[in-house]
């Protein structure tokens, strides 16, 4: 009792838990409740009740409201869907001049805008693709087929792979030096001799459009948010939701608006990649010391000069981290957008995964990762590069990179020309190694997977069964057993205890949205999978982080490993787990754990590192041993930062759980995947995405509020 009096918070938490469990036990499971198809479905079922909203019929299974709330928001996806269709097909019809038929045609405004936008995107993508791979579409678009027939020289061949490889190597050398150049060279050679050239260049051409556009828009919006409080306030909630929204969920509405293909993929990638760019731009601009701004003004800068000559260069470090983020998102989207018809490596990867051809998937995945790491390193090198203005260099020294590239260009063309004689009857390997005609190690990997499966089948199966039967199933049952009222009481109570009435209201709103949507049960399954992943990830991450922190070099090494793992597109994680565990929940969970352990480890190390050196010395002088120092000094101080790591871990885990739907889970992700192939899926996909985002935001709100308070309390805010 003394103890409770001293710590009133603990008493409050205990009380909250008691209420929660009392509610859980007090509210019986209704007899009619079955977790089969959730509460709302598109098929008719005699047991369903209906309600009509705005002319739309919404069906649901009626339960005791204490157990499950009725899906009062069931009309939302239908409504979103209908409004989208209305906007696209009936809203503001206007006369537009049609070039092909030479007449005016009536078209809805939005459709016309969307068509023009997609046309523009497609044009740029094709243009870059032609430079890299050769083709005719853009030239034809500029001129006509007749022109091409009359002037065969205009048929632009793509660059031979040797030239692109040499170009990448020279550029890397210029940016960073030998080691990056070697890495770039090896990557390019790997891509070409493994016959991944064409898909790689397709992916690259799409990224070379998406990344710069995302950068420009992100920078622009970031600047306007910096300049105007109102823009920032308007952007903030959108950014918040977009940060936790699974990328899947954006696919479906974009499908409706922009159709299928590379252009839609570019637009979706931009939607996903712009928010982090905005945030980092804002962060960088905010961090500029006010005196630098004043110095700029006193130098007589006008607004334009101030922004582009003073502010942005001063904030360039953060802005370039934003560029790096944009590139990473682009590559991860390169895979996901294959669902809506983006060509390239992502498409091959999905295809291979679908066929359970692990070896091929591995090769394509490695390709994506290598290009991602290469571009990431190159952009970072560019960020840290300083120009030498006053070096007294000879003409050759100043232009040696250009000269080398011209040399490589000529040699490449000569080689390609020689190749036409060498490989008369087969493909010209010195020009381009066609897809699936290069070396492939797929068989080796597939055999390896088979061997592993045959040899360890018993153990893997035993582990699998144990995990599913003894851990996952009971855990899932427990989550589903929670009455909705109990859940809300728990979440809102936690919000109140952590952040007061404001926080409680926010999380209450977020929870209610999910509870009133037709997918509460599925959301519970998503939460259960994410929770399981997060708990294991945190255990691993915190332990590994703490252990690595004991030695400086180990910590540095670990952070490097985290960096590299983070550059892998999330889909790549599915490959090895599918190799080992096949198509089960276990695979998804292990992928979740691997993926989510990255932020847990990183933030642990960073948190421990951020403990001031002075405190270390003070602790050592008070005679603490290593263990005491860890528990008494470092952990308490690093804990807020580690909690931010937990926050990231939750976001990562949610992402992976949703992507896991590709393997087959029963949660929200599965429905998003289903919505992809549904003509009316846009509203459903978007609402589901918002549900997932809100799960993330509930935890985000609680953790952030706690961290802010704690940091203030410790005086390290």
């Amino acid at each position: 009792m003394e103890f409770l009096k001293k710590n009133p918070k603990i008493f409050q938490w205990l009380f909250l838990l008691i209420v929660f469990f009392a509610l859980c036990f007090a509210i019986e499971v209704p007899e009619t409740y079955k977790f089969i198809r959730g509460q709302a479905e598109f098929i008719k079922d005699p047991n369903q009740s209906t309600f009509v909203f705005a002319g739309k019929e919404v069906r649901y299974y009626a339960f005791d409201v204490f157990w499950r709330l009725p899906p009062l928001l069931g009309w939302l996806p239908i409504w979103i869907n209908d409004s989208l269709f209305f906007l696209m097909n009936d809203w503001m019809p206007m006369e537009f001049w049609n070039e092909d038929t030479q007449e005016f045609k009536t078209r809805p405004l939005l459709l016309q805008i969307s068509r023009n936008l997609t046309g523009f995107m497609t044009f740029i993508i094709e243009l870059i693709r032609e430079i890299l791979l050769g083709g005719l579409e853009t030239i034809v678009a500029f001129t006509s087929w007749d022109f091409i027939d009359a002037n065969p020289w205009a048929e632009l061949p793509g660059l031979p792979w040797t030239i692109v490889a040499a170009g990448a190597t020279i550029l890397s050398y210029k940016l960073s030096g030998k080691s990056l150049a070697i890495f770039a060279g090896l990557t390019m050679v790997y891509i070409s001799i493994f016959g991944q050239w064409k898909p790689s260049m397709q992916t690259l051409s799409f990224i070379l459009v998406a990344a710069p556009l995302s950068f420009i828009f992100g920078l622009g919006l970031g600047i306007s948010a910096f300049k105007s409080k109102r823009v920032e306030k308007a952007l903030y909630p959108i950014l918040l939701v977009m940060q936790t929204m699974p990328q899947y969920a954006v696919l479906v509405p974009a499908l409706v608006l922009f159709g299928v293909g590379d252009h839609a993929a570019v637009i979706i990638t931009m939607i996903v990649a712009i928010p982090p760019m905005i945030l980092l731009t804002l962060l960088g601009l905010r961090a500029i010391p006010p005196e630098v701004i004043e110095a700029g003004k006193m130098s007589g800068c006008n607004n334009w000069q101030l922004m582009f000559k003073v502010l942005i260069p001063t904030a360039r470090r953060d802005i370039l981290i934003g560029v790096n983020q944009v590139i990473m998102v682009c590559f991860s989207m390169a895979v996901i957008s294959a669902f809506i018809g983006a060509k390239g490596l992502g498409f091959n990867l999905l295809l291979a995964l679908n066929q359970l051809n692990i070896g091929l998937a591995l090769e394509a995945g490695l390709c994506i990762s290598l290009i991602a790491i290469l571009l990431d390193k190159m952009s970072l090198a560019w960020a840290n590069k300083q120009t030498d203005y006053f070096g007294n260099l000879s003409f050759f020294e100043r232009n040696k990179n250009t000269i080398f590239f011209i040399g490589a260009f000529i040699i490449g063309i000569v080689l390609a020309y020689i190749g036409t004689f060498l490989f008369k009857d087969t493909f010209n390997y010195l020009f381009e190694i066609p897809h699936n005609k290069g070396i492939s190690t797929a068989d080796f990997w597939n055999k390896g997977v088979d061997w592993i499966f045959d040899t360890f089948f018993v153990y893997i199966k035993a582990f699998n069964t144990w995990l599913i039967q003894d851990v996952l199933q009971p855990m899932r049952a427990l989550y589903l057993r929670m009455p909705v009222i109990a859940t809300i009481v728990l979440v809102v109570g936690a919000g109140y205890l952590i952040g007061g009435i404001r926080s409680a209201l926010v999380v209450c709103g977020l929870t209610l949205f999910i509870a009133l949507s037709p997918w509460w049960d599925r959301a519970l399954v998503t939460t259960y999978m994410a929770t399981f992943g997060v708990i294991v990830s945190c255990l691993i991450g915190f332990t590994v982080g703490t252990l690595c922190f004991q030695s400086k070099s180990a910590a540095k090494f670990m952070l490097g490993v985290c960096d590299i793992f983070q550059t892998f597109p999330s889909f790549v994680y599915l490959i090895p787990v599918m190799m080992l565990f096949g198509i089960t929940d276990t695979s998804v969970l292990i992928a979740v754990i691997v993926y989510a352990t990255i932020p847990a480890t990183r933030y642990t190390i960073e948190g421990l590192r951020s403990v001031p050196v002075g405190l270390h010395d003070a602790a050592t002088m008070s005679g603490v041993n290593k263990f005491q120092r860890l528990t008494k000094i470092e952990f308490p101080l690093a804990f807020p930062h580690m909690m931010l790591g937990l926050n990231q871990t939750i976001v990562f885990a949610l992402f992976m759980v949703i992507i896991g739907a590709f393997i087959g889970t029963e949660d929200l992700g599965q429905y998003i995947l289903k919505a992809l192939s549904d003509k009316n899926g846009a509203g459903i996909g978007l609402t589901l995405g918002i549900c997932v985002a809100f799960i993330g935001l509930i935890f985000d709100n609680l953790i952030r509020t706690w961290v802010d308070k704690r940091k203030k309390h410790l005086g390290i805010a």
């Binding site: 010391p289 630098v292 006193m298 007589g300 800068c301």
Partner: protein, 343 residues
Amino acid sequence: MSDAVIKCESVYKIFGENAEKMLQEANGNVDAKTFQENGCIVGVNNASFEVAKGEMLVVMGLSGSGKSTLLRCISRLTDATGGKIFIEGQDLLQLNNKELIDLRRNKMGMVFQSFALLPHKTVVENIAFPLQIKGIDTDDSISKAMDMVKLVGLDGRENYFPRELSGGQQQRVGIARSLAVEPDVWFLDEPFSALDPLIRKEMQDEFLRLQDKLQKTIMFITHDFDEALKLADRIAIMKDGIIEQLDTPAKIVLNPATEYVRKFTEEVPREKVLLIEDVMEQSTGDNLGDLRVSKHEIIENVAEKILTQDKTVGVIDKNNKVIGSINPTKIINTVFGGRKNGN
């Protein structure tokens, strides 16, 4: 004074939402406390003064006294809430954006406490920056900047980045940058406060050397009273946004206007600050000895000579004309007396 370069008339700066309305209602009688109760903070309270051409006005005050705010009003980095400010006769607050930029490009230079150099530019590029902003081409601006590099003694380091320089060197760059456009008015906001004491002294001497050569009109902000005494032609002492006293160093030391000012002067070694003319008597008397001292001497330098005399010493001006007298007792009183019990 007709040749006032900077002229302030009842300048107010009040932070807060209803600042302007409250200022109007206050009717020239601003009380910090009432304003604070209404959510407004008074930064500068009724500041009026002039700075003549070639004069150095040092504004001294502790942190939060409003000295930096006053400077920012005069450079119009913030807009004053009330009052009038004239720079060379131009009404600063009436200028539109373009005229303001013109003024800054040609007539103003400013040095900052934290140097505020652009991290992505080298020394010479930083110095050339205001010139390039003005539209001067690269070659001319770089060669002009190189002159500035030499002026502040950074030759050989022109290709360094700011992060590769020590604090004192960085501030030299800051000074060079502010002088690059050859401004008439030079603002310095605690330029030496972030430096080590030894470097600070060196920079102060360097600064005096520069000012001797350039004769700019200067507003210099500092929280260091000794620095103010060393550099200033006149000192303005600020507290809570109000200028408590504005006078020459000697007069402030001899006649502190308020209790607050007196506290600063208590610890000041007078013999190092005061000149003979500050303490001499106007009457020459009949009883002069043979020794003559110039009225421009600092007391410390001539104290020994005067103290060994039995008779009153005559004070002369530039033309060797006797204009006053001083006796040893007076010196002793100035140096040792008065410190605790006033003059």
